[in-house]
């Protein structure tokens, strides 16, 4: 009983690395897929930059000065004493209240209801269209708003800015 070797054919895959290449390719695709999925699902929404960054350089300077003024008023206040008048703040050289003395002054300041200060652009041609509000309670809060925007929407809004209570058109100063 002998086997005819010429009739027995056994197919053998060529050992040229093709199979390994397939596995490697599959692994690469899998890694790319998992990585891509991970990147797309784990993207954090970038924090919205604070609105004051859009103000011009002079209005940004007013924000800092106003925040400083708020602390200075509180630091020197006697318990139960009323807030100082704008004229006395200007006389003491506290910006932005004293800025009316400078050529770059762009706002007129008033004390409202004895509890806050408001700065309104002197006129449209001087470059600023931003109003500022300094509210002094237990904390010092600085607000600003675009005069144009608040005028445009004022007829739609039933809420009014009752002196020291800022409505929805005011933005409060805080860092991101």
């Amino acid at each position: 009983m002998s086997v005819n070797s010429e009739q027995y054919i056994e197919p053998v895959r060529s050992d040229n690395g093709r199979q390994e290449s397939r596995w490697v390719l599959l692994a690469v695709l899998l890694i790319l897929f998992v990585g891509g999925y991970g990147v797309t699902t784990n993207q954090s929404v970038p924090a919205k930059p604070p609105g004051y960054l859009l103000l011009d350089v002079k209005d940004k300077a007013v924000l800092t000065a106003l925040r400083n003024a708020g602390d200075e008023i509180q630091f020197l206040a006697q318990e139960g004493s009323p807030l100082p008048e704008v004229a006395s703040l200007a006389a003491e050289g506290i910006p932005p209240f004293s800025d009316h003395l400078s050529a770059t002054s762009r706002h007129r300041w008033r004390k409202l209801d004895g509890a806050c200060y408001i700065g309104t652009p002197l006129n449209a041609s001087n470059g600023s269209s931003v109003q500022f509000l300094l509210v002094l309670n237990t904390r010092v809060l600085v607000y600003w708003r675009s005069v144009e925007r608040s005028h445009k929407h004022s007829h739609q809004s039933k809420r009014t800015t009752s002196a020291c209570t800022p409505d929805e058109y005011w933005q409060v100063l805080h860092n991101a």
Partner: protein, 316 residues
């Protein structure tokens, strides 16, 4: 016998007096600071009622400093640490992390005072969520930080709270008077045409308080020279935007600045970065006065050249 008794009483009073002085000294707060301007701020606020301790010895480069074991040891003795906290003293935060890992999240009672917590910060171009940390090269932003530090120290040491606040206001007013005396020189001058470049993004807050913006910043990062192509782009930008003044850092040798000067005719002036030298409570005011003088000179000389050119019918 009476005399012995009175000597004994006198001795008792002296011993009690000395011991109370020692207790007083021991009770003084130890307030750490990370950068030179904060040494000036805190020294002016606390005077002799607290000890101001630099976290790092003088002579370091705040942009690239790595904490040493001795710094960490010093940190452990502090009651409070005043930090810039927005990118100029990252080395301190690495030390705070180490401290917290050893002593728990509270850092063993160490109060970290973020001086910039209430400063309306300026952004950094092309970097979302990053802030310009040079708030100490400015008078208004420094006053903002003085008040934040005074308030926070007052919470830590309520007995001296009012003392700290009053000192902060006094120093703020000194700084403001100094600024007013210089800015009076600009009264009535039209600065709307002035265009400014800066080698390092350190002077934005300072120029902002005079209503002046910076048109271009040259260095990609502090002390990093621009590449040849970046330098060419800068030169093109300066020419296109007609930038007339370049502010660079005092005592820093920037070879490329001369190249820019020769290529564009821009005028160069030097500002102090405020973070070098020995720690000194008067340093901030002294160096800021130098910066004010430099700024006034730069603007006055620009306007003078402009007027001369207008007289001769030339272009700047």
């Amino acid at each position: 016998m009476r005399s012995y008794s009175s000597y004994r009483s006198l001795f008792f009073v002296l011993v009690m007096g000395l011991s109370s002085v020692q207790v007083g000294a021991a009770e003084r707060l130890r307030v750490g600071i990370t950068l030179h301007p904060y040494f000036s701020y805190v020294s002016q606020i606390v005077k002799e009622r607290a000890e101001v301790v630099p976290l790092v010895d003088a002579g370091f480069n705040p942009h690239s400093y790595e904490m040493q074991p001795a710094d960490l040891k010093r940190l452990m003795t502090m009651d409070a640490l005043v930090v810039n906290g927005i990118g100029h003293d990252e080395f301190a935060f690495r030390a705070l992390d180490t401290l917290q890992s050893q002593r728990g999240k509270s850092g063993g009672g160490l109060k970290v005072i973020e001086a910039n917590a209430d400063v309306p910060l300026l952004g950094v171009a092309n970097a979302l969520g990053a802030w310009n940390p040079h708030t100490f090269v400015s008078i208004s932003a420094s006053i903002r930080q003085l008040y934040t530090i005074a308030r926070e120290l007052g919470e830590l040491d309520p007995e001296n709270a009012q003392f700290y606040k009053i000192n902060a206001v006094k120093f703020a007013r000194e700084l403001r008077r100094m600024k007013t005396s210089y800015s009076a020189r600009l009264m009535g001058l039209d600065l709307s045409g002035v265009r400014i470049a800066s080698t390092h993004n350190a002077y934005g807050y300072f120029l902002q308080e005079f209503g002046i913006g910076i048109d271009t910043v040259i260095e990609p990062a502090h002390g990093v020279e621009p590449s040849v192509s970046q330098l060419q782009q800068t030169i093109d930008r300066i020419r296109a935007a007609d930038i007339q003044i370049l502010f660079t850092e005092l005592n820093m040798d920037n070879r490329y600045v001369t190249t820019i000067e020769q290529a564009t005719g821009i005028r160069i002036y030097h500002f102090s970065h405020m973070t070098y030298g020995e720690y000194d409570s008067a340093q901030f005011k002294r160096e800021m006065e130098g910066n004010l003088e430099t700024l006034m000179q730069a603007l006055e000389q620009y306007l003078s050249r402009l007027n001369k050119l207008a007289d001769t019918g030339g272009k700047y």
